[in-house]
C-alpha cells in the first residue's frame, strides 16, 4: 500500500512538473521532479505493426522517451517490471460529445411554424452553426472519462452534435487527474456536420434531406462570396465557416447512401469529408470505396429480434434479419477493400460494449492489426496527430494500456490505462488469480470449491459429492472471504471462511462455524482437474466457435426481399407471334415478331430470326412499350421541402431511394420509367428526378442519362396551406391571389439575376434563382400541380408574360374547362383517371377530364401520384375507354407515349419503334384489361421483372427468413441479448407528405 502511494505521489509530482510553471504556489515549496518511469519486460505494441516481444517503455513528463528492446534506463527512473504483460497505445475516439451538454430544445409555440432565423448577426438559417466551438461548451466529465478509460480510451475528440454545420471539435485526454490546462490537446480539431437540424431553433427550413443538401451547397457559395468581401453585413457563421475551411471535415452520414450523397456534394466544393458510417457500407462497397473517404464506424451491430412469438416474428422483414446477420462483417469488408476507418463509441449506450462488438467483428474476419489501427493510428492520422498520438514511439504522449495478453482476446484483462503518463489502475496486476477447482475437508466430509468469473469479481460453487450449497465469494487485496450454507439448509446457518492468499495453489485460512467455533481451513487446488477443466474449456470454446462460425448470407441488390444476387444483364430477346401495341403509325399489330438487341428495339416484323437470341413465345400475349408515370413519389426519401414558399434549389435526384420495394412492385405492374416529383407544399417546388426503374442499381444509375430538366410547381389548396391546420396562416401566400404574386416576384428576380450574370459584374451565386433562370430560358420544364381553372389560366398568363411556356399541368382536374386555352398555350395535361372529392378544389373533377382534353387537342397523360395505383396504370388508362369513349390505342398512349412526350424522352422511350430503348412489357392479355398481368418487364434489354423469377425469389425469401429466424432463436437460447420485433410499414407518400425525421 505504501508503495502504491509512493508511485502515485511520484506521478503527481511529475505531472505537476509539466504544469504551467508560472502558477504561484502557496501551499509548500516548489517541487521540480523530473524522474523517468520505465516499464520493462513487456510485449510492446509500439504501433499496431511494430511489436517488441520483450522491451522497455521509458516515459517522462507525460511523453514517451523511448521504446524498444534495448533501452538504456536512466538512474532516476522508477522501474516497473511487467513481465508477461502487453503494452498497447491506448485508444482514440475522434467522434464523441464527451463533456458537452446536450443542447436543449427551443421553447415556444410548437404548432405555428417559424420561418426566420432566431439568431442575429449569423447566417439566415439557424441550423448552420460553424461558429460553435466545442471548447466553449466543454466541461470535463470525470464519470464518463472513467467509463472511457475502462474501455481502453486515452484521448477523445468531442463536438457539439447539434445542427447541420456544428462547428469545431476539441481534442482532450482522459487523464484521471490534472485539469483542462493539461488535458486539452487542441481546441480546433475538425469541423463537424450532419443531416439533422439544430434542436435550439424551430426555424422550419429545411424540412427535408434534399433541403439540407441544397442548403449546404448554398452555404458554400455564400461563404465564397463573403470571403471575397461582397457582403457588407456581419455574418459570424460564414466567417467561422471560412476560418474552418482547412480543418478536417467530419460528416455524420449514418448510412451508406448518405455517404455517397454528401461525398458527391463535397466534391463540388473541393471538400473531402470523413464520414461517420452506418454499418451498411458493405452493401455498396465499390461505391463507398470510390468516395476515397475515410470512415468512422460505430460498432452498434443490431441485436437479434426476439422471434419466439411466430405471429409477431413474421412481421420482421428479411432486410432487418439480414442486417443482423451481415453487419458484423462490415468492418472486415471495409478493411478488405482498403478503406481506412477508425472506430467510435458513438451510438453505443456504454463504452464498454465496444470491445465485445469489436471481438464479434474480428470473429467475422476483421484482422486484429486492422482493428488496433482503427483505434489508434488511423484516428490519430485522421485528425493530423500522427506524431504524438496513436503509437508509443519516442515523442508520443505516454498513453498506453497494460494488459494481461492479446487485447483482442475475450479472456484478457486491462490492468492499467496510462494517460499522459498518469496511471489509472483498472485491475490490480498483483491480484492473484484464484480461478480453479479446489478440495477441502470439514467435519470429515470432502467438499469441492469451484471458483470462476473475473479475477476481481469471482463466483463460487461449493458442493459435496451429493449436494450443492449456496455460497458467496469475495476477494480483494488478496483477502478472500467465502460463505456457504450448512448441510441442513432448513436452519439457514452459514459457514464462513477467511483466507489471506499468498499462493493460490493452497488457500490457507480460518473457518468460522455457525456455533462460533473456529478451525483451520486448507483448500488445495486440483491440478489434475484443472488440466481436465482446461481441456473441457477448450473443447467448449471450440464448440462455441464452431457454433458461432457465422454463416453470412449473400448480399443482394438491393439487399432486401426481391433483391438479386447479381444485376440483370442485357439479353438478346426475340418475341414471336405477339400482339404489338406499337404506339406508332402501325397501331396494334398481331402475330408480329420483335427483336431486342444491345438494349434497343432492333427489328419488328414477321418470321424474324436471330442467332443466340432467347425466343419468347408471344402467342395470345401482348407486347407494349413500358408504362411511364408522369407523377409519382416512390423511390425517394423526401417528397416536400416545405420550409419556404419557393424551393427551386432542392432536387429529388439528391435523395432517390433505390431500395424502395415499390420500384419492384411497379415493375410488376409494367412501369419502366417515372418522374419522381417534388410535392405540392409550395408554389415553386423542387426539381424532379426522371428515372428508369432499374431495380437493384444504385440511385444515380436510375436517373436518365442527359435527363431533361424538370421542376414541380403547385397551385391551390396545398400551397396556400388550406388544410395545414389553423396555425399555418402566416406564410405567404394564403390565397390564390398571392400565388400569382409569388411567381411574378420570383421570375422578376430571376430575370434581374440573369441580367446581372450577363453584365459581367460579380454576383452572388444563387442556386434557386439559377434554376428559375433555366425555366425562363426554356432549359427546364415546369410540371405544375393544379386543380381549378382560374389558377391554371393564371399560371399560363404569368408564363406568357415572362415569355416561356408551362410544359405540363399535372393533376389538372379542371383541365377540361380550359382545354382550349391549354391548347393555345401549348401545355400538356397529366391527370388522374377518376379521383375527386378529397378536397374542396376537386369538386368539379370528373373522370371525363382526360377524354375531353384529349379530344380538344391537349397532349394527355394519366398519372398515379400513388404507389398503389401506379402499379395498375394500365387499368387507369382503360377508364378513359369507359368514360369518354377514347379508343384503346389512344388510351394506351395516355400511360406510355404521351407521358414520354411530356417528359421529353419520347426519342428514347414510349413506343415500340426500331432504335428506341428496349423498355417493353409482355402482358398476358390486352394490357387495358383488368384481367391482364405483366409477365416480363424489360428495361434496355435487361429483364427487371419476370413472373417466373418472382416465384423463385419468393421461395428464397421464405427460406432465408426461416433460417435466419432459427439463428435468432439459437442466439436467444445462448443468452444473447434480443430486442422486441419491429414491423416496418412504409407509408404511402403523396404530394403532401412531409419527412418524418424533420
Amino acid at each position: 500500500m505504501i508503495k502504491k502511494w509512493a508511485i502515485l505521489s511520484l506521478l503527481l509530482c511529475s505531472y505537476l512538473s509539466f504544469a504551467q510553471e508560472y502558477v504561484p504556489k502557496n501551499d509548500g515549496v516548489k517541487t521540480n521532479t523530473s524522474n523517468y518511469t520505465a516499464l520493462t519486460n513487456a510485449k510492446i505494441y509500439v504501433t499496431p505493426n511494430q511489436v517488441i516481444d520483450k522491451g522497455t517503455l521509458l516515459i517522462k513528463d507525460g511523453k514517451v522517451v523511448s521504446s524498444g528492446a534495448s533501452v538504456t534506463i536512466p538512474k532516476n527512473a522508477v522501474v516497473i517490471d511487467v513481465t508477461g504483460k502487453s503494452i498497447y497505445p491506448s485508444f482514440i475516439d475522434i467522434y464523441t460529445d464527451f463533456g458537452i451538454k446536450k443542447p436543449t430544445s427551443a421553447s415556444g409555440d410548437r404548432r405555428s411554424p417559424q420561418y426566420d432565423a432566431s439568431r442575429e448577426g449569423f447566417y439566415w438559417n439557424d441550423h448552420i452553426r460553424p461558429d460553435q466551438n466545442a471548447i466553449d461548451h466543454f466541461e470535463f466529465d470525470s464519470k464518463k472519462a472513467e467509463e472511457l478509460r475502462k474501455a481502453g480510451f486515452g484521448v477523445v475528440n468531442s463536438h457539439i452534435d447539434d445542427g447541420i454545420i456544428q462547428g469545431t471539435g476539441v481534442l482532450v485526454t482522459l487523464a484521471p487527474s490534472g485539469s483542462d490546462a493539461t488535458r486539452l490537446l487542441d481546441d480546433r480539431v475538425g469541423q463537424f456536420s450532419g443531416t439533422s437540424k439544430s434542436k435550439t431553433s424551430r426555424q422550419a427550413y429545411p424540412t427535408s434531406l434534399m433541403g439540407v443538401m441544397a442548403l449546404l451547397r448554398q452555404v458554400n457559395h455564400d461563404a465564397d462570396w463573403y470571403a471575397k468581401g461582397n457582403i457588407k453585413e456581419k455574418d459570424r457563421a460564414l466567417e467561422a465557416y471560412i476560418a474552418n475551411k482547412n480543418l478536417v471535415q467530419f460528416f455524420d452520414a449514418g448510412k451508406k447512401v448518405n455517404a455517397l450523397r454528401f461525398d458527391k456534394l463535397g466534391d463540388q466544393f473541393g471538400i473531402q469529408y470523413v464520414f461517420v458510417g452506418g454499418g451498411d457500407e458493405y452493401e455498396l462497397i465499390n461505391d463507398i470505396k470510390n468516395t476515397n473517404a475515410k470512415f468512422i464506424l460505430p460498432l452498434d451491430f443490431p441485436d437479434a429480434y426476439d422471434m419466439e412469438d411466430p405471429l409477431l416474428a413474421q412481421s420482421v422483414s428479411l432486410e432487418d434479419l439480414k442486417a443482423w446477420n451481415q453487419r458484423p462483417a462490415n468492418p472486415k469488408i471495409l478493411a478488405d477493400n482498403n478503406i481506412q476507418f477508425a472506430l467510435t463509441t458513438h451510438k453505443l449506450k456504454e463504452a464498454k460494449t465496444l470491445m465485445p462488438n469489436l471481438l464479434k467483428a474480428i470473429k467475422y474476419g476483421l484482422d486484429k492489426t486492422k482493428a488496433l489501427e482503427a483505434l489508434t493510428t488511423i484516428p490519430a492520422g485522421i485528425i493530423g496527430k500522427s506524431t504524438e498520438l496513436g503509437h508509443l514511439k519516442a515523442g508520443a504522449y505516454a498513453n498506453f494500456l497494460i494488459t494481461s495478453g492479446d487485447i483482442f482476446d475475450k479472456e484478457t484483462t486491462i490492468y492499467q490505462n496510462w494517460v499522459t503518463g498518469i496511471k489509472d489502475e483498472l485491475t490490480s496486476m498483483t491480484t492473484k488469480d484464484l480461478r480453479g477447482n479446489y478440495t477441502f475437508n470439514l467435519d470429515n466430509s470432502e467438499y469441492e470449491l469451484e471458483i470462476s468469473g473475473e479475477i476481481e469479481k469471482l463466483k463460487s460453487k461449493v458442493k459435496t459429492s451429493d449436494k450443492e450449497f449456496g455460497s458467496k465469494i469475495s476477494f480483494s487485496d488478496n483477502w478472500m472471504q467465502l460463505t456457504f450454507s450448512t448441510v441442513d439448509s432448513t436452519k439457514k446457518e452459514f459457514i464462513r471462511v477467511v483466507s489471506n492468499i499468498t499462493n493460490p495453489k493452497t488457500l490457507n485460512g480460518k473457518v468460522y462455524y455457525p456455533n462460533g467455533n473456529e478451525g483451520t481451513f486448507i483448500a488445495t487446488k486440483q491440478v489434475k482437474d484443472e488440466a481436465l477443466k482446461d481441456k473441457k474449456d477448450k473443447e467448449d470454446k471450440d464448440k462455441d466457435d464452431e457454433d458461432e462460425t457465422p454463416k453470412i448470407y449473400p448480399v443482394t441488390y438491393p439487399n432486401m426481399a426481391y433483391g438479386m444476387e447479381s444485376l440483370p444483364q442485357q439479353e438478346t430477346l426475340l418475341f414471336k407471334n405477339v400482339t404489338v401495341w406499337t404506339n406508332e403509325a402501325d397501331g396494334i399489330v398481331k402475330n408480329t415478331d420483335v427483336l431486342i438487341k444491345n438494349g434497343k428495339i432492333a427489328k419488328i416484323g414477321s418470321n424474324l430470326n436471330e442467332r443466340n437470341a432467347t425466343v419468347i413465345d408471344g402467342t395470345d400475349k401482348h407486347l407494349t412499350a413500358g408504362i411511364i408515370d408522369e407523377h409519382t413519389h416512390i423511390a425517394t426519401e423526401s417528397v416536400n421541402e416545405a420550409g419556404h414558399n419557393s424551393t427551386a434549389e432542392v432536387t429529388i435526384e439528391d435523395v432517390l431511394d433505390a431500395e424502395d420495394v415499390d420500384i419492384y412492385r411497379n415493375l410488376a405492374g409494367g412501369v419502366t420509367s417515372a418522374q419522381i416529383l417534388h410535392g405540392s407544399a409550395n408554389p415553386i417546388g423542387g426539381r424532379s428526378a426522371i428515372i428508369k426503374l432499374k431495380w437493384g442499381e444504385k440511385a444515380d444509375n436510375l436517373v436518365y442519362q442527359n435527363s431533361p430538366k424538370f421542376i414541380k410547381f403547385a397551385l391551390g389548396e396545398n400551397v396556400k396551406q388550406s388544410n395545414w391546420g389553423d396555425n399555418a396562416k402566416t406564410r405567404f401566400p394564403q390565397t390564390r391571389m398571392g400565388v400569382e404574386q409569388v411567381y411574378t416576384d420570383y421570375f422578376q428576380r430571376a430575370r434581374e439575376y440573369e441580367a446581372l450574370q450577363k453584365s459581367g459584374k460579380p454576383y452572388r451565386k444563387d442556386i434557386e434563382l439559377e434554376t428559375l433562370v433555366e425555366i425562363l430560358n426554356g432549359e427546364r420544364f415546369v410540371s405544375c400541380h393544379s386543380y381549378v381553372q382560374s389558377e391554371i389560366n393564371m399560371l399560363m398568363k404569368v408564363a406568357e408574360k415572362f415569355d416561356f411556356r408551362i410544359n405540363t399541368f399535372t393533376h389538372i382536374l379542371e383541365g377540361y374547362k380550359v382545354a382550349d386555352k391549354m391548347v393555345a398555350h401549348g401545355v400538356g395535361g397529366s391527370t388522374f383517371s377518376d379521383w375527386w372529392a378529397y378536397k374542396y378544389e376537386v369538386n368539379d373533377a370528373i373522370p371525363f377530364n382526360a377524354p375531353i382534353m384529349h379530344k380538344a387537342g391537349v397532349l394527355v397523360a394519366i398519372n398515379s401520384d400513388d404507389a398503389e395505383m401506379s402499379r395498375r396504370l394500365n387499368q387507369e388508362a382503360a377508364k378513359s375507354v369507359k368514360y369518354g369513349d377514347v379508343s384503346e390505342e389512344d388510351a394506351w398512349k395516355f400511360v406510355t407515349l404521351n407521358p414520354a412526350k411530356l417528359l421529353h424522352i419520347d426519342d428514347r422511350v414510349g413506343s415500340i419503334k426500331v432504335g428506341k430503348d428496349a423498355d417493353v412489357v409482355l402482358w398476358s392479355d390486352n394490357p387495358l384489361s383488368i384481367y391482364a398481368k405483366a409477365e416480363k418487364t424489360i428495361i434496355e434489354g435487361k429483364v427487371y421483372f419476370d413472373i417466373e423469377r418472382d416465384a423463385k425469389l419468393r421461395a428464397t425469401i421464405n427460406k432465408e427468413k426461416n433460417e435466419l429466424t432459427m439463428l435468432m432463436l439459437q442466439a436467444k437460447n445462448k443468452g444473447l441479448k434480443t430486442k422486441p420485433i419491429e414491423k416496418k410499414e412504409k407509408e404511402l407518400l403523396h404530394c403532401d407528405s412531409i419527412d418524418h425525421q424533420f
Binding site: Y838, K839, K855, A856, Q875, S924, I930, E982, K984
Partner: protein, 431 residues
C-alpha cells in the same frame, strides 16, 4: 365574423344543393329484358336470357327460349349483359362529402364506445358522390360509421332515394367494432423509430372489451333506470338480431376476435379487413364466419410480401371455402367505391372465375349483410335491383351502363359529373 360564416354557409349550400338527379319513380309497369347475357350473381350465367320484373320484384329469370308471355315494356338486351346491382359494404357513402372540408364530415363520432350512434340518419341521399356510384353498377351500400373502439351501428341502403328513410333496405343491421391492434407505432415525434412494435396494451384492451360486453349483457338482462343507451344498442348483438362486424387484419387479432365472440355468445360475426384471414381459415370455417375482404387494390403490408398478395387473397379464401365479400374502406374510400366492380375483376386475373368474382360484390355480400332474401342475385322474388351493361361489368373497358333499376325503378345514370361532361363537350363543339 358571423356574416362571414353565413356567407360561407350559403356558398356551401349552393355548392351542394344541386339536387342532381331525381330518384326514379315507383315501378308501375312490368319490364322485360330479353336476349341479354344474365349474370345471376349466384355463380350462374344465362346466355340469351329472359328477365321480367313487376312492382319492383323479379318475376321471371330464365332462358329467352322459354315459352312465356313477355309482360310490359320490352327491352332488347341482345349483345348486352345484365347484372344484379353491386353492393358496397362497410362504406361511408353519404356521410362525408369532401374529406378536407370538416363541415362535411359526419363519419366519426367522438368517444370510444358508440354502439348507439346510427349512421343512417346522417346518410345524405343528395350526395354527389352517392349518385356517381350508379353509372358503374354500384346500387346498394352498407353505410358504416368510423372511428373509436365501437364505431356505431350501420344500415343497408339502396342508392337512389329522396331521404334516408326511403333508402333503407335494412336499418341498424350491425354494430362495428375496431379490434385492438397487435401493433403500435413508435412515437417518431419523440425520436422513437417510426416502426410498428408489439402493442403492449393489447391484452388490456381486449379485456376492456370483454368487460364492456359482459356489462351490457347484464344490463340488458334486467333493464333498469337510469338507461344506458350504448348498452341497449348492443342488445341485438348479444341476442343475435344484429350482426357484429369486427374490423381486424392480423392473424392473432382475428383468432382473438372469434374467441371473444364465442365467449360472449355472439353468433353473427363478420370479419372486416382480414389481411391475414387466410392464416386462420380453419377457424373461420369451423365457426362459419364470413370475411369482408379489404380492397384488392392495395399494397402489400410488408416489403417481403408477394406483390400480388392483396390481389389474390380473395381467391385463396374462396378456394378454402370461406364466404367472402369485398369492401373498399381506406384512402379516398367514398369516391373510389365506384371502382368496386374492378376490385372484383382483379380477382379473376388471380384465379377466380368471373362468376365467382361477381358473387364477391353481389350475392356473397348480400348473404353477409343478411339481405340476401331481397337482393344480391337475379332470382325470382328478389328486388329488381339490376343494370344492363354493354359488356363485361368487371372490366373498366366494358363497364358501360345503359340502364339501371333499383327495386324496379328506372334510375338515372346522370350525375354532377356527366352534366359537366356534357356542358364542356358542348363548349368545344361550338367553338
Amino acid at each position: 365574423m358571423r356574416k362571414l360564416k353565413i356567407l360561407i354557409l350559403t356558398l356551401f349550400v349552393s355548392a351542394f344543393s344541386f339536387a342532381q338527379q331525381t330518384p326514379g319513380d315507383k315501378q308501375t309497369k312490368a319490364i322485360t329484358i330479353e336476349g341479354a347475357t344474365a349474370h345471376l350473381g349466384n355463380g350462374e350465367v344465362i346466355e340469351n336470357a329472359l328477365i321480367m320484373f313487376e312492382n319492383g320484384k323479379l318475376t321471371f329469370v330464365g332462358s329467352a327460349n322459354t315459352k312465356i308471355a313477355r309482360s310490359g315494356t320490352i327491352i332488347d338486351g341482345k349483345g348486352k349483359h345484365v347484372y344484379p346491382g353491386f353492393i358496397a359494404p362497410n362504406s361511408t357513402l353519404g356521410l362525408v362529402e369532401v374529406d378536407a372540408v370538416r363541415a362535411t364530415n359526419d363519419d366519426d363520432e367522438v368517444g370510444a364506445m358508440n354502439p348507439h350512434v346510427r349512421s343512417i340518419i346522417a346518410y345524405n341521399t343528395e350526395s354527389k358522390i352517392v349518385e356517381s356510384m350508379r353509372p358503374n353498377g354500384v346500387l346498394m351500400a352498407q353505410i358504416t360509421p368510423r372511428g373509436g373502439r365501437i364505431s356505431g351501428t350501420s344500415s343497408v341502403v339502396q342508392l337512389d332515394a329522396w331521404n334516408w328513410e326511403d333508402a333503407v333496405i335494412k336499418e341498424d343491421d350491425a354494430v362495428h367494432l375496431n379490434w385492438p391492434s397487435n401493433y403500435s407505432r413508435g412515437r417518431w415525434w419523440l425520436g422513437e423509430p417510426n416502426v410498428l412494435k408489439e402493442n403492449k396494451n393489447y391484452t388490456k384492451e381486449v379485456e376492456e372489451l370483454n368487460n364492456y360486453f359482459a356489462q351490457s349483457k347484464a344490463y340488458n338482462a334486467n333493464k333498469t333506470t337510469p338507461k344506458d343507451l350504448p348498452f341497449e344498442a348492443l342488445e341485438g348483438v348479444t341476442n343475435g338480431t344484429k350482426k357484429l362486424y369486427v374490423h381486424v387484419d392480423y392473424e392473432k387479432g382475428i383468432t382473438d376476435a372469434i374467441n371473444f365472440a364465442k365467449a360472449q355468445n355472439i353468433t353473427q360475426l363478420v370479419i372486416v379487413g382480414g389481411y391475414e384471414a387466410i392464416n386462420v381459415v380453419d377457424l373461420l370455417k369451423q365457426n362459419n364466419i364470413p370475411v369482408l375482404l379489404q380492397r384488392t387494390h392495395s399494397r402489400p403490408k410488408g416489403d417481403d410480401h408477394d406483390y400480388d398478395l392483396p390481389y389474390k387473397l380473395a381467391t385463396q379464401l374462396v378456394n378454402a371455402g370461406v364466404l367472402v365479400g369485398l369492401e373498399n374502406s381506406g384512402d379516398m374510400e367514398r369516391m373510389n367505391t365506384r371502382n368496386l366492380p374492378f376490385l372484383a375483376g382483379t380477382t379473376v386475373a388471380y384465379g377466380l372465375t368471373k362468376a365467382q368474382a361477381l358473387s364477391l360484390i353481389t350475392l356473397n355480400t348480400a348473404k353477409i349483410l343478411g339481405v340476401d332474401d331481397k337482393v344480391g342475385s337475379l332470382e325470382v322474388g328478389k328486388d329488381a335491383t339490376l343494370f344492363i351493361c354493354e359488356g363485361d361489368a368487371l372490366d373498366m373497358r366494358t363497364n358501360k351502363l345503359d340502364k339501371a333499376f333499383i327495386q324496379g325503378r328506372d334510375v338515372s345514370l346522370e350525375t354532377h359529373q356527366t352534366e359537366l361532361y356534357k356542358r364542356y363537350s358542348e363548349k368545344y363543339k361550338n367553338n
